[in-house]
Symmetry: C2
DNA sequence: CGCACAGGCTAATGGTGTTAGCTTTTGAGC
DNA sequence: GCTCAAAAGCTAACACCATTAGCCTGTGCG
């Protein structure tokens, strides 16, 4: 037998993400990951402690992917242009990978494994608002409002909750303008 | 009606909701419902076609519960007072029954079983905005923005996504005011 | 050259949804 | 009041899942 390619935790997570993209979060099963990586199911336990832990790793990946993307989007921008770019990048990500977005942990700060990745994502949002000169809790509230809008829209859109997709771009533009106007009145 | 049934579909759904309140959506299992209703697991199929269909019934119940509650909240109010009351009632419901809220279907309009209940819930929101005199697509956009805010906040809060719960009331008040200001500028 | 061990395997257990087919109960009609 | 069809329960069985235990083997390191 030739040298069998060794499996790593990273490759297991890769397979998990492919599976999620194709079949949704519900389709992430150890049996399916094993089949895709060409290994017997119990062998996965050499790289992952449990299905729950694998889900955790997937969550970290998604958070990192979003952080990376939003960071590059916002680099070199400030003020309304930065916020607008961030909000559209958020929606773009979710439209490209709706199933993957559904695998994003809602409470990364309460999980040891995901905490760092969660903090980084929120810091990107905070940094995007830096040029508005918000201090202390004002900055926190502004970040929360931003999260509510982008996640609320993304959650409903990716879940097919908007009935007809007609005019969704307009709705999102209105939300962006609403938030920017609100930010301006705040400072 | 040859036989008086000891168990009915409604009672099965009742047990399912109790289970969800206690253990979350993930805890809803036919075996657990059977144990709670004092019946063998396969017997449930006499009242429910499958676990998926039971989830659908649960979703309808949650939608109806919310519709009923928000309707009573908003009755006799109009304008900003109505919107404000609706938004706070939404958050109250989710804080009282966070696990149950997670069982709310995201796309009720695409499910035959849930469509009617979903339409009614959205109509309550639309009616709440009636006094602003929005026409056609303006009304739709305004309803969508409202949904984005209330669901976005509820989703993050009930998922424990806000880190420390400190100042969450303030954040929500800011969102309410942001939406009301936006509505005013719209008309 | 030898050997520890990482990383694969098979077998087995307990949980799940679901189907098939049998039994019991009970109300409706004669 | 008796009969009987069907509603509503049951057990048995199957497929699929996660997980654990224990074995085997090749590889890299000393």
């Amino acid at each position: 037998m030739a040298v069998r390619p060794r499996l790593t935790t990273a490759k297991v997570v890769d397979a998990a993400l492919e599976l999620i993209d194709e079949q949704g979060v519900e389709g992430l099963t150890l049996a399916a990951v094993a089949a895709r990586t060409g290994v017997a199911t119990p062998s996965l336990y050499k790289h992952v402690a449990s299905l729950a832990e694998l889900r955790g790793h997937v969550g970290v990946r998604v958070l990192e992917e979003m952080t990376d993307r939003f960071t590059r989007t916002v680099l070199g921008l400030s003020g309304d242009a930065a916020v607008e770019a961030l909000m559209h990048a958020y929606r773009s990500y979710v439209r490209e990978s709706p199933k993957r977005y559904a695998a994003m942990p809602m409470d990364p700060l309460h999980d040891e494994l995901q905490q760092a990745a969660g903090v980084k994502l929120i810091e990107v949002m905070l940094a995007t608002l830096r040029s508005y000169g918000l201090e202390g809790s004002d900055a926190i509230h502004a970040t929360r409002r931003l999260r509510v809008i982008v996640h609320g829209f993304a959650s409903i859109e990716s879940g097919g909750g908007f009935g007809l997709p007609e005019g969704l771009d307009d709705t999102y533009d209105q939300l962006v303008r609403m938030y920017l106007t609100d930010l301006r009145g705040q400072s």
